[in-house]
Subunit: 150 residues, 2 copies
């Protein structure tokens, strides 16, 4: 839903993961519960990431964080609604969540189902398409599908 820039990304980050995630949650009106803190840590603690709910659940389990898959889904959706995450759908089945909410596009490696950010400058359009009467562009999603060269 949220297309505007995340308010979360306008917070000052201190570099302290605990503090940052706490702020981030507060800023969008979510209580900093144990599982949300842990998930936030995993999500935002190490740079831009592309994760499915299943992957994050897996990570949390390995990190000994007690959290249910349902809560992972709920949390990801809440963060997405709050504009802290962006959903990327690439092949109909799995839904990826991207911690980078700024305008950017993706490579998709068909061989191993991996998403990679495309360096920014490279993907400007030559011309803006004519938008039908009464509509405006909410967002442009572009996925460059890559396959292994033979």
């Amino acid at each position: 839903m949220a297309v505007t820039q995340s308010s979360g990304s306008q917070l000052q980050l201190t570099g302290c993961p605990w503090h940052d995630v706490n702020e981030m949650l507060q800023s969008v009106g979510l209580r900093p519960t144990r599982q949300r803190m842990a998930l936030g840590w995993l999500l935002f603690g190490k740079g831009a990431r592309h994760l499915t709910a299943e992957m994050l659940y897996e990570e949390a389990s390995q990190a000994k964080v007690p959290v249910s898959l349902a809560t992972v889904y709920n949390t990801l959706n809440q963060l997405t609604d709050a504009g802290l995450l962006r959903q990327v759908s690439v092949d109909g089945t799995k839904t990826y969540f991207d911690t980078n909410v700024t305008a950017h596009q993706h490579f998709y490696l068909e061989s191993n189902h991996e998403l990679i950010d495309i360096p920014d400058s490279h993907v400007a359009l030559r011309s803006i398409p004519d938008v039908p009467e009464g509509y405006e562009i909410a967002r442009i999603d572009m996925v460059v599908r890559l396959r292994k060269k033979v």
Copy 2:
């Protein structure tokens, strides 16, 4: 899978729907059964279309064509594998099938979940992104998400 141009689109079309669909099926090695003929007719009989399995099933039912939803799915997948259809995933849930298999991009009307072709020429990229070593571009999927202007 199939990224190359459909062999089906290289057939000479006679304008006779029955003949054309028949040819199309034969050309990819599918038996022209009653339900495949009917579905092909619905799909290709009236220009470029964007349909979900459910929508096509609905149309078939209304056209009094006896066909099961499973067969609709199977047929759509077979035609996609054969390169006669292209899959477009736009919001993670529903999968659309596009009868236009040439390179082109889409508008997506968020308000009513409708897909529309973007007129060709408008969406060239200013520069090709640097593709990672060992990979090549299989396809570029672009969806321009539109919302109603306020």
